[in-house]
Structures are given as structure tokens and as C-alpha cells.
């Protein structure tokens, strides 16, 4: 139940993409893509390598320019908002980049405090308490606070980066392949963590992932990207019956053997 999220009706669409078109040079990556993300859900976003999953995430975040279409967040068209509204929206989302993107010259504690320092006026004591709280919430040991990113393992970097993404208690969290590079146990723990944070903080999670286990265990809905648009969206059961060669190969291939049975329970 994050502060940002309150006052938004349950199941209301908080990110609405309509006709999103993005390209680099001659090449179109996304062409007329439509997608809704509803409040409080964990949306898994899958697609083959190079189909533009990260591009869509970066476009919603405003890191890539839009060639056509609209992206609405909290009902504001991001193409037309004034700077104050834009700043407000930016404080209501947090991003976990694929490789963590922690600032390498700052400790974990300082990394988490960067958004607080930049956007708010809090005393150092309270910021320290808050940063330690986030470190504990993402399951890092207390002594991680004073370590530099280069001293952390891959899994710890993901957790520290998630702690930074949660620094301002956002309503929406974007996760770019949060479990890639983690061992299955670590990845499972990370999924549990995200589900727990969703339940306690009321987060909305937009997760770009390749991890079939994540898709099964934590995602409420799945959207599949292909042919520059969303091929199909819905719960896992829809994916298993959808008739498209790539979707079939993905959800019913050898690596997905475990998917069908538990999902049918």
C-alpha cells in the first residue's frame, strides 16, 4: 500500500499504451502496440531476444522517443504533460535495470539515498534509517550497506538495485530481467520477494523476464511481444492454449515441461 498507489481504484489501468510505435533509423521495433497495466498486478512481459521488450520499458520511462501513439501513466499522456506533473510521475515509479546500474562510486546505502536526497528534504538520520529498512526489506545482510557495488555478488546487486528502486515508495516498479544471472534458488527467493512486496506495499510490477518459473509463480498476467506488437495477453492458461508457433515453442517447449501441470491445479 504505497502512498502513490492509494486513491487509485483496484484494477484500474495505470499504464495505458495505445498505438506505440518506436524505431531506430529505418527499422521499426514496435509498431502500433497496445498494452494495459492494471493497478496491483504483476505483469510478465516476454518475447524473443531482440523483439523490443526492454525498448517498450524504456519508452514508457521516457528514455526512448516515441514515433507514434500515446503512453498514459495515471491517466496523464506522457507526451503532453507539463514538467511538474512529469516530475510527480517520475517520483512514483522505480526501475531495476538489467545490470543493476548502481552508481559504482557510491556505497549501497548512498545509492539508496540518491533519490531521497535529490527529491526530498529529510535529515541524514532518517535517510539512514530508511535506507537500512529498504536493505532489510529486500533481504540483504546489514553489512551490505557500506559495501561498494564492485564488492557485491550478482544477486546482491539485483537486491541492492531493487532497494534503490523502492527508495521513494513508488506505485509502479519496472523490473528488467530481475532473475537473469541468478541461480534457481536465488531467482525463486527474488520472485517471492517481489510477490511479498506487491502484497504489502501494493506495488504494480511491470516485469520483463525470460524466466518461466517467474511467469508461473508470481505473474498475474503475461503479455507476449512478437511481430512488433503484443501477440497475446492473459493468464498463463491462455498462453498454453494460444496458437502461435513462437508462443507454443516458448510455453510448451522442453524447458517449459513443468509449466502445464502446476498451472492446471
Amino acid at each position: 500500500m504505497s502512498a502513490c498507489a492509494e486513491g487509485i481504484a483496484e484494477n484500474e489501468v495505470i499504464i495505458r499504451c495505445r498505438g506505440v510505435t518506436v524505431g531506430f533509423g529505418e527499422r521499426l521495433i514496435l509498431d502500433g502496440l497496445d498494452l494495459d497495466v492494471r493497478r496491483g498486478e504483476i505483469l510478465g512481459f516476454v518475447g524473443g531476444s531482440g523483439t523490443g521488450k526492454s525498448v517498450l520499458m524504456r519508452t514508457i520511462l521516457g528514455l526512448n522517443p516515441l514515433r507514434g501513439g500515446t503512453v498514459e501513466v495515471f491517466g496523464h499522456d506522457l507526451g503532453a504533460v507539463d514538467t511538474a506533473t512529469r516530475a510527480g510521475i517520475e517520483r512514483c515509479w522505480g526501475v531495476l535495470f538489467q545490470h543493476g546500474a548502481l552508481f559504482s562510486s557510491l556505497t549501497v546505502l548512498q545509492n539508496i539515498q540518491v533519490p531521497m536526497r535529490e527529491h526530498l528534504h529529510l535529515t541524514q538520520g532518517l535517510m539512514d534509517d530508511l535506507a537500512r529498512l529498504k536493505i532489510a526489506m529486500v533481504g540483504l545482510p546489514p553489512d551490505a550497506a557500506d559495501k561498494f557495488p564492485s564488492e557485491l555478488s550478482g544477486g546482491m546487486i539485483k537486491r541492492a538495485s531493487l532497494a534503490r528502486a523502492l527508495a521513494l515508495d513508488p506505485a509502479i516498479v519496472f523490473l528488467d530481467e530481475p532473475t537473469s544471472g541468478l541461480d534457481p534458488i536465488g531467482a525463486g527467493d527474488f520472485d517471492d520477494l517481489i510477490a511479498k512486496l506487491r502484497d504489502t506495499l501494493g506495488l504494480t510490477v511491470f516485469m520483463v523476464t525470460h524466466d518461466l518459473d517467474s511467469l508461473r509463480s508470481v505473474c498475474d498476467r503475461i503479455a507476449v511481444l512478437g511481430n512488433r506488437r503484443v501477440l497475446v495477453e492473459g493468464p498463463l492458461a491462455t498462453m498454453l492454449t494460444f496458437d502461435d508457433p513462437w508462443v507454443k515453442a516458448y510455453f510448451r517447449g522442453t524447458r517449459a515441461r513443468g509449466l502445464a501441470a502446476p498451472a492446471a491445479e
Binding site: 481504484a9 494495459d36 495515471f74 491517466g75 517520483r91 530508511l130 529498504k134 515508495d169 502484497d199 506495499l201
Partner: protein
């Protein structure tokens, strides 16, 4: 589902807190939004409030009925506030289910801050820093010598098997260190030649010794100025590039990848750069000689009324081939020290971006310093040899 009115979830009302006397002890009423965005301004007001609350003896009821939004930061501040009243004396009312979950979650995750470790005193700290600095010098001197040994070993192998020289990277480095540097080096030397000639002419004229400007410019630039300035420019230009290139490769584990594949980073990365720089610097010094003498000749002609023919005649008398060789013979040694220092610094880069910046700065500073030291050693050597 479509177009609900736009929301502004970041617009929030300030939190308030108030103490009221009640039937069963005091009541602390908390209302408004308690979030990370709103608690900043009230933090200071909360301090005396908490002090009074802590001093109070009776039972206290916290009424959260009027509470608006709550997030982890607000929950943390509220928990600190609750903590001021002993558990037996306090009751908390008006918490809804979601707020309860959040408060429990935060209470579960909160930890006592680790006790700050008592560091050593200022004198000990100074001594530690001094020791570290000294050891740093020693470590680095060893690293430079180690790399020099590695380079020598690779060069020996190349002499036995000339095909081992990485020809294309070497030519690429030669272009970047010599050809690409030519415009700026010649321009700078031309201007320095002009300035020295003008200053010389200005002072020599008082003694009626105008023509000696040519001697001064010739000897000074050929022996010292051209090679030193070129070496400093190259240290700033190519030395920093070497450090940054090797450093960023080190950061991305590319150097380790080379080693694992069975390739020697010294052979692949250091030797082409070092050999290229050792060839580039004498060439650039020669160009610098020409440019500065050209600049001097023009200034002498325009400012001191010494015709070009007279200038050349005088120059021919003043300098010999030996003067030129004294200057240019220092260039390969300066190039060697610049490349070694820069590569050693690059290979010592650690994980962070800050470390890369620090190492690049150190590479430039140390290599310029070493250029001056090498020049001094050569000056003593030539003085002893009577050249």
C-alpha cells in the same frame, strides 16, 4: 475501462499530530498523509513532541483513525513515535488492515543501526595514510618494472619470430599517437617558436646582439623545448587514452577473458601501444623542431628584421647535427616511460568509474613528472659526457 480522470497521487496533505487529554490517559491523534513525501517538513516539529511524550507518565492511546496515506517511511516514523511510550502504557487504535500489514512488515525489517566503529586517532590515521602512500609507491614501482620485464620478454619473442608482432593494432596505434597528434603538436610548437624568438629578440636587441636570437632558438628548441613539450602533450593525449582504454577493458573483465583464452595482455595490448609510442614520439619531436624553427624564422623576419637567408645562415653556424640528436635521442625513453606508466595505471583500475578517473589522472600526472625526471637525467649524462 477507458478514460478515468487523471490522477495526481503525488499530491498529498501534510501529516498532523496532536495530544488531547482523554478519559483513560492521553490521546495522540494522528491524521493526514504520512509518507516519504510529507514527513520531511514535520521532522523537526516532531522532535520536541516526542521528547514531551517520552517524559509523560500516564497511559497513552494513539488514534490513527484520521490517517490518510501511509508508506514505509511514514510507518517507520510512526513506529519510532510509538516506541517513545512503554509498551504496557500504550494502546493503538484506528488502524485498518492494510496499515497493520505495513506497520508489521516495517517493524519486522527494522534493525538497530550498527554501533559506529571507533576509528584510530588523527596521528595514527596520518601515519596509516603515510604508510599506505609509501607502500603505494613501492607497489607501483614494482608494477612498472614488472611490466617492463613483460614487455622485454615479448619483444625478445618478437625478435625470434617477427610474425608475432601484432601489425594491424600497431599501425592503428601509430596512426592515433603520431598522425592524429601532428596538427596540434605542430601548431603548438610553431607558437612556442614564435614566442621564444620574440622574447629573445626583445632582450637581445638591448645589447645589440639581435642575431644571437637565432642561436638561442636553435639550441633551445632542438635540445630541450621541442622534445619536452611534445612529450608532455603526448602524455596528456595518448597516455590518458591508454589508461582509459586498458582500464575500461579491465572493468569489463576483458583482460581476464584474454588471459583465459591463452593470450598475453602485454603482447596484445601493451606492446603495440608502447612500440607505436616509441616510434611516434621521435617523429613528433622532429616535426616539432621544424615547426618551432619556422615560427622563429617568421617572427625574426617580421619583428626583428632578420631576413630568412640570414636566419638560415646563422642557424647553420649555431647548431650541428649533434644538437638535434641530443634532443631527439631522449624521445624514445620518454615515450617508454609514458607508455609504461599509463599502461600500469590502466591495468590497476578496479570496479568503479571513480577508480578509472583517478587512475587516468594519476597516469597523466606521473608520466609528465617522469618526463621531466628523464630529461634531468639526460642533462646530467650529456654534461658528464661533454656533449
Amino acid at each position: 475501462m477507458d478514460s478515468a480522470s487523471p490522477l495526481a497521487p503525488w499530491a498529498q496533505s501534510p501529516p498532523t499530530f496532536r495530544r488531547d487529554p482523554g478519559d483513560a490517559g492521553e490521546v495522540v491523534r494522528l491524521s493526514g498523509d504520512w509518507t516519504i513525501r510529507t514527513i520531511g517538513p514535520i521532522e523537526a516539529d516532531l522532535v520536541p513532541f516526542r521528547r514531551d511524550l517520552e517524559a509523560a507518565a500516564g497511559a497513552v492511546t494513539f488514534d490513527l483513525g484520521g490517517l490518510g496515506r501511509l508508506d514505509t517511511a511514514g510507518a517507520l516514523v510512526l513506529l519510532h513515535l510509538f516506541g517513545d511510550v512503554a509498551e504496557a502504557r500504550r494502546t493503538i487504535v484506528g488502524v485498518d488492515a492494510k496499515q497493520r500489514i505495513l506497520l508489521d512488515e516495517v517493524a519486522g525489517a527494522e534493525r538497530e543501526p550498527a554501533a559506529p566503529q571507533l576509528g584510530p586517532g588523527p596521528v595514527i590515521r596520518f601515519l596509516i595514510e603515510l604508510g599506505r602512500y609509501g607502500v603505494g609507491w613501492w607497489v607501483e614501482a614494482r608494477a612498472v618494472l614488472g611490466l617492463l620485464g613483460g614487455v622485454a620478454a615479448v619483444l625478445f619473442k618478437i625478435m625470434l619470430h617477427p610474425s608475432r608482432l601484432r601489425f594491424i593494432p600497431f599501425v592503428n596505434q601509430l596512426q592515433r599517437t603520431a598522425l592524429d597528434a601532428t596538427p596540434i603538436i605542430t601548431l603548438m610548437s610553431f607558437l612556442i617558436g614564435c614566442i621564444i624568438a620574440q622574447q629573445g629578440a626583445f632582450y637581445f636587441r638591448r645589447f645589440g646582439a639581435d642575431l644571437y636570437v637565432v642561436d638561442m632558438v636553435g639550441v633551445l628548441t632542438l635540445r630541450e623545448i621541442a622534445v619536452i613539450l611534445t612529450a608532455v602533450m603526448v602524455a596528456g593525449r595518448s597516455g590518458s587514452a591508454f589508461t582509459a582504454e586498458l582500464g575500461s577493458m579491465k572493468m569489463r573483465e576483458e583482460i581476464d577473458a584474454l588471459k583465459v583464452i591463452g593470450l598475453d595482455p602485454v603482447e596484445i595490448l601493451v606492446v603495440p601501444r608502447l612500440v607505436a609510442l616509441m616510434i611516434a614520439l621521435p617523429i613528433l619531436t622532429f616535426l616539432s623542431d621544424l615547426a618551432s624553427i619556422l615560427g622563429a624564422a617568421i617572427v625574426c623576419n617580421v619583428y626583428a628584421d632578420i631576413p630568412i637567408e640570414t636566419f638560415l645562415y646563422r642557424l647553420h653556424a649555431a647548431v650541428e647535427m649533434r644538437t638535434f640528436f641530443v634532443g631527439v635521442s631522449k624521445a624514445p625513453f620518454m615515450a617508454l616511460i609514458i607508455a609504461l606508466v599509463a599502461c600500469v595505471q590502466g591495468l590497476q583500475v578496479e570496479g568503479s568509474a571513480e577508480s578509472l578517473g583517478r587512475r587516468t589522472t594519476m597516469a597523466v600526472v606521473k608520466s609528465i613528472f617522469m618526463v621531466v625526471v628523464v630529461d634531468g637525467i639526460f642533462a646530467m649524462f650529456y654534461a658528464a659526457a661533454g656533449v
